[in-house]
Point group: D2
Chain length 220, copies 4
Amino acid sequence: MIRVLVWCENKQNKTDDAVKAVYPNGMHNTIADFLNADPEITAKTATLDDPECGLTDSVLAETDVLLWWGHIGHHEVPDNIAAKVQKRVLEGMGLIPLHSAHFSKPFKLLMGTSCSLSVPGFFREKLWCTLPGHPIAKGIPNPVDIEVEEGYNEYYDIPQPDELVYIGAFEGCRVFRAGCAYHRGNGRVFYFQPGHETFPIYHDKVIQQIMINAVKWAKG
Amino acid sequence: MIRVLVWCENKQNKTDDAVKAVYPNGMHNTIADFLNADPEITAKTATLDDPECGLTDSVLAETDVLLWWGHIGHHEVPDNIAAKVQKRVLEGMGLIPLHSAHFSKPFKLLMGTSCSLSVPGFFREKLWCTLPGHPIAKGIPNPVDIEVEEGYNEYYDIPQPDELVYIGAFEGCRVFRAGCAYHRGNGRVFYFQPGHETFPIYHDKVIQQIMINAVKWAKG
Amino acid sequence: MIRVLVWCENKQNKTDDAVKAVYPNGMHNTIADFLNADPEITAKTATLDDPECGLTDSVLAETDVLLWWGHIGHHEVPDNIAAKVQKRVLEGMGLIPLHSAHFSKPFKLLMGTSCSLSVPGFFREKLWCTLPGHPIAKGIPNPVDIEVEEGYNEYYDIPQPDELVYIGAFEGCRVFRAGCAYHRGNGRVFYFQPGHETFPIYHDKVIQQIMINAVKWAKG
Amino acid sequence: MIRVLVWCENKQNKTDDAVKAVYPNGMHNTIADFLNADPEITAKTATLDDPECGLTDSVLAETDVLLWWGHIGHHEVPDNIAAKVQKRVLEGMGLIPLHSAHFSKPFKLLMGTSCSLSVPGFFREKLWCTLPGHPIAKGIPNPVDIEVEEGYNEYYDIPQPDELVYIGAFEGCRVFRAGCAYHRGNGRVFYFQPGHETFPIYHDKVIQQIMINAVKWAKG
């Protein structure tokens, strides 16, 4: 069994009606639920509300793959906890930062760059695969069609991915490296762009399958 | 001085009124002219009409960077000449395949893949830089706006570029890895997507500057 | 089950006493035997002696991963069969060229470079892992010690690997990129340097485990 | 003119007779002197002894390429200064960490990994080029022979280099990725392993030429 922890700051989940409408049980629980439906995965959740962000040494030691969703609360994660996550990835844990987690502390520490990007608005998106033999793309139609998503746009200040699996194309001639795989130490990182909090992205079966594939790839 | 050879099949240049309207002197001469305006570059041309395609051993030996535009005449380039170009790149010559030269024999030999892609129509394009510190992007605005171009679309069957410098975004959520840099042996290859024969792409000053930058990068 | 085909030119196996002493049943059968001991793998063999080199369309269509050992008979493989193997890799088959198969036709076609190297003699070798989280290195001690092997030395004229998993270090300050992973089209390639025909490399349990890992990685 | 700053912790330079014997004027001055002999370069120095480590905002703003040598004083560089160097690289400055600067704060911040390695002793080294067309290798013999150097050994915990230019081979089947080039933001990083403080490495004309080449490459 792959032991997954779905981490979410869990802030807009509680305060923003538009988010609650899409994820009445909290986005992290939605993600954990579809992951738990896979027979190879057992998923738990943790949030900013938990002591030590729910990321104690023992929890991290028992986590094979950590998914991370954060947005307005990045700064509330203490530096020492972010550093522990970074260290645990180098030891072998997988990390899957989602959407606005491009600015999460653990991802920025692991990339060494600013991870900045531009956010031009809301648009239809298509995800195009640039590595069709990659395990993360297995069984996924090409392109993946997303009716509406928050547009992220280049330049995205990240190291060149070891494996660029997906490029996101947004209406209006906009592009973003949307699925970026990295080897770091004994661990692996897969940044995945889709997942704005007010759209039902994580209810989409194809997006779910990409994330399940990513978990299996990231477990090492 | 960087010794450049601009190779063009020179077929539609002669038979297609729409092409002649855009490039009355031939596309290869237009390209050679703007390259020759750079004080570090001296450019000549060669075409399918020349004996041995204008690619004799002595010509290749005296070429630092070869630009290549072909479309409907790829098969008219003899295999042994394509193999000579491949060998000369491995010895240190730069190669810049343009637009439909994704299917040119020398490029396919150097990539080892099918270099296939899809061609969905004509669209507005924006080129987005994904490596802003790269010498090929020096002094180039981001994005580069192209009013209308033949759309090329992923999946583009190439090896992952060593340096992905540009992604092209086409209207309608379409994307293409448009500026792809490779090290091969002692030489360098830069595939550059813009340049459909019926649009005045190579008259554009920004496109010209990217190509001048590419020549300087590819000379090694 | 992963359907593996172990291809071997099977020439020195028949004529060279030193080779017969190490591999009395033929090197390809030794390799197939240890692969078949893995419950996820079913391995067959083919050689230059078979009609169409044993690489008919139907055989290739039913092969998930092809291992390839050749040395003095590279030129006896017809060009059209090499091209079929290349095409099948781009469709999704894994290819694992072993040792002197750096000069095999399918590998050269897929790399697009000369694949030349230098061969300075026979030396002790240590394989050092440069990507410890890679599935090919899973469970493998670091370094891997090989008592004596034919030394291969840089410059090795290959594209930069997508994933450089092993560097081989030979006595006398000699080095070689010994474990090189590539994505090509839908398929994967893993070049692996150890395996000179007069040394019992493929009887080594650690080398066998690397090759089993490589088969599982290359199956896609 | 390329404006270079050679930064050195300048500790063993003052206290260790073996170091003083090799670099009587201080290693940083030796490096600055040979760089200044190049007509395209103007080099200054800075050390831990200077206020703010000699790395004030105005100094950094006027620096195109920063060379960095540190060893026993990494922890004496304040975190905020290391972060300023990281930021300046992302804005476009080149950084060339030398030898034991693998553990310098700016390099670790930019890599996002532990940058750990093993140090097995003192050995003869040969540097082998794995990208012969790279500008850093221009005009350099292959291999580069170093009579004796401190051995560094894999696993070296760094991201895969964008361009692996040199592998160092040490007597006793030891290897190290010795010349590692990275694109980060608008800037470039070249880690270069040779340069133990008690050996006259930076007096070597070939090593000097590699460093001059690296400065020109890193200036962007």
